[in-house]
């Protein structure tokens, strides 16, 4: 395989992660970053220029040149881009959540399966060396039986379309629940059975929630909570974070995924900022996806994982509306 590169295109710069993905695609040895398409041509053209990538006016043109694409569109556009790629026999790595509805997520999985292409979901938390070490510790029995997890994935309000219900499918729950829900499923090799949520729109005057606490029951009998709130103020020293407090019979473990950071007291910015020095999780995550495609292996995080995490978010909305816990089976298509 030495010297063989995967031709990867990037669809849309709607998402805040897109610029980072473009840098990663350019940097990865095993990737031939073949270009960019964007439904917003002006934005796409500028981004292509900035990242030294070829601009494709037509989606078909980009797909024809690609073995795989990374989708960084609005959440609501994931389905149409995935279906276009699958129709062209192009593999897909889409940012999370997989889609804004369970039906869309399921359709994406089915379409890709029928087309014989792989569908990967961007859950970079799984690429954290700390999270991987915890998974190995759990699998090795170091924690005993896992009883509870308190997870947080708070962030600053990302702006753009993230507060637009139609484009994003919701607010903080849609944006941040899925990372923690996926990490919990993956770490514990467990499934969510029931979801309770309290949500509120308290800080930014949005039609969607900016605060949320979810409580999950798991098939094993363990329980978990997720704080998905856009609760980080603009003066917070970084965008947000991901933490896991894991209680087992034999040990309690705290994970702070982005703890490896310097504190920069920046007079020019008028505040302190964190400068992360840990591994770049997106590089590891995209690299693992590309390696799996090149080796014709199953991608490490597939559409099913994306759908399971989305179901938790959808159940949270229903729970908040009904003011009672909701069985995950009730939202499964």
């Amino acid at each position: 395989m030495a010297g063989v590169k995967l031709r990867v295109g990037l669809i849309s710069f709607a998402h805040v992660h897109a610029a980072g993905v473009a840098r990663t695609l350019r940097a990865l040895d095993q990737v031939d970053f073949i270009g960019v398409h964007d439904e917003d041509a002006a934005r796409g053209r500028a981004a292509a220029k900035e990242h030294g990538a070829r601009w494709h006016e037509s989606l078909d043109g980009l797909l024809a040149a690609s073995d795989a694409v990374v989708i960084e569109s609005t959440n609501a556009d994931h389905r149409r881009y995935t279906e276009a790629a699958a129709a062209r026999g192009v593999h897909v790595l889409t940012d999370k959540p997989i889609a804004t509805t369970v039906a869309d997520g399921k359709a994406m999985i089915d379409t890709c399966a029928r087309a014989g292409v792989q569908l990967g979901i961007a859950f970079p938390v799984r690429s954290s060396p700390a999270v991987i070490a915890l998974r190995e510790a759990i699998a090795g029995g170091m924690l005993g039986t896992i009883r509870a997890v308190r997870a947080t994935n708070p962030g600053q309000y990302p702006g753009r379309w993230f507060g637009d219900k139609k484009a994003a499918g919701g607010g903080a729950v849609m944006d941040h629940t899925v990372h923690a829900a996926d990490a919990i499923r993956w770490l514990l090799a467990d499934e969510v059975t029931r979801v309770h949520a309290e949500l509120g729109s308290f800080m930014y005057g949005l039609d969607v929630e900016d605060c949320g606490i979810l409580t999950l029951d798991l098939a094993s009998g363990a329980f978990a909570s997720i704080d998905c709130s856009w609760s980080r103020p603009q003066t917070f020293p970084t965008w947000g974070g991901v933490t896991l407090h894991v209680v087992g019979d034999k040990a309690t473990v705290d994970i702070d995924v982005f703890r490896q950071a310097l504190t920069h007291y920046d007079d020019a910015a008028g505040r302190a900022k964190l400068v992360g020095w840990g591994d770049d999780l997106n590089t590891r995550m995209i690299g693992d996806f590309v390696d799996a495609i090149l080796a014709r292996r199953r991608v490490p995080i597939d559409g099913e994982a994306g759908l399971r995490a989305l179901e938790v978010a959808i159940a949270a909305y229903r729970s908040a509306e009904m003011r009672r816990p909701v069985d995950i089976a009730a939202v499964r298509a």
Partner: protein, 326 residues
């Protein structure tokens, strides 16, 4: 004021010691389950040993009884003290059951004696500053708050904590501090949802609760007896104009290292303050009682916080959202 203390565990010993040097206050008698248990603290604070706790409740040389026994015994001693005309300072939770707590409140009201409940967090400066910043609008309107409180499995040190019928487990013993704090900061919640472990012989006990206030905020609380590194507290309080963060582990001005490793975790990491919150609490209670004023956390207030703890347990056990009526 002459003080009698029943119970010489963490709380009883703390109160007996904290009362030393307070103006016009003297600890005169100490009782515990056995006279032998009472002896070391009695000797330390130069009080007499009362071999029978019930006798202490009506002793002639006692004006105020501090009830710091295991939780399920609070009602017996608090009611006996009230009936003997003594003021009562009862550790939290006020009692193990709502019925017991109501009986204590009634007995103290009938006897026209003061009843104070030991929700000491209200005397911790970091929590008082948060209260002030909520009240004066510095943080804007509260949106979401998370409060955490943990300790090692304390049942491994004192067996009565292991029995939920006696202690109420981590929810009534530890999480109750933050349930009381949530009420103090934000008023009465509208509903409660919670999950918890069931206490086993290992002493591991862990619970999470989510409180929803009618409009706002959402409050998430963790109570843990799985914090093997020792006692810790923290909160994160977000209003629409800012956020306030407290982490006890990051707030100690005094760290010690010694050969032989970390050693056993301290039962409680008391903040290094000239006057501890426990002593501030005692001084305030004694002063109010002497003036004939209501204690800051009186029986009704202690009863409501206990009831909220019981609602957390009810939700965790039933899997249902509990609508809260204070």
């Amino acid at each position: 004021m002459r003080i009698g203390v029943i119970g010489t565990g963490f709380a009883g010993a703390m109160h007996a010691r904290s009362a030393q040097g307070l103006d016009d206050v003297r600890v005169t008698a100490i009782a515990a389950a056995t006279p032998e248990e009472a002896a070391p603290i009695a000797e330390e604070v130069r009080a007499r040993i009362e071999s029978e706790p019930l006798a202490l409740c009506s002793a002639k040389d006692v004006d105020l009884v501090v009830v710091a026994t295991p939780t399920h015994l609070h009602a017996d001693y608090a009611i006996a003290a009230a009936k003997a005309g003594k003021h009562v300072f009862c550790e939290k939770p006020l009692a193990r059951t709502r019925e017991q707590a109501e009986a204590i409140v009634r007995a103290c009201e009938d006897a026209r004696v003061a009843l104070a409940v030991g929700h000491v967090v209200r005397y911790f400066p970091e929590y008082q500053i948060a209260k002030r910043m909520i009240g004066d609008g510095t943080l804007g309107k509260p949106a979401i708050a998370t409060l955490v409180r943990g300790n090692f499995p304390v049942g491994s040190a004192r067996a009565w904590y292991l029995d939920p019928e006696k202690s109420g487990g981590v929810v009534l013993d530890l999480m109750l501090h933050d349930l009381d704090t949530a009420r103090w900061w934000f008023g009465e919640p509208a509903r409660v949802y919670a999950r918890r472990l069931h206490t086993g012989a290992s002493g591991l006990d862990y619970a999470i609760a989510t409180l929803r206030f009618a409009d706002r905020p959402i409050v998430h609380i963790e109570g843990s007896w799985a914090e093997h590194a020792g006692f810790r507290t923290g909160f994160e309080l977000r209003g629409d104009r800012g956020m306030l963060v407290h982490d006890s582990r990051a707030a100690s001005p005094f760290l010690v290292q010694a050969p032989g490793g970390a050693g056993s975790p301290a039962m409680m990491a008391t903040p290094t303050l000239a006057e501890s919150p426990y002593r501030r609490q005692l001084r305030d209670i004694f002063a109010r009682v002497a003036r004939g004023d209501r204690p800051l956390v009186d029986g009704r207030e202690g009863l409501r916080s206990l009831a909220l703890g019981l609602a957390v347990i009810e939700s965790a056990d039933s899997g249902k959202v509990i609508e809260w009526r204070a």
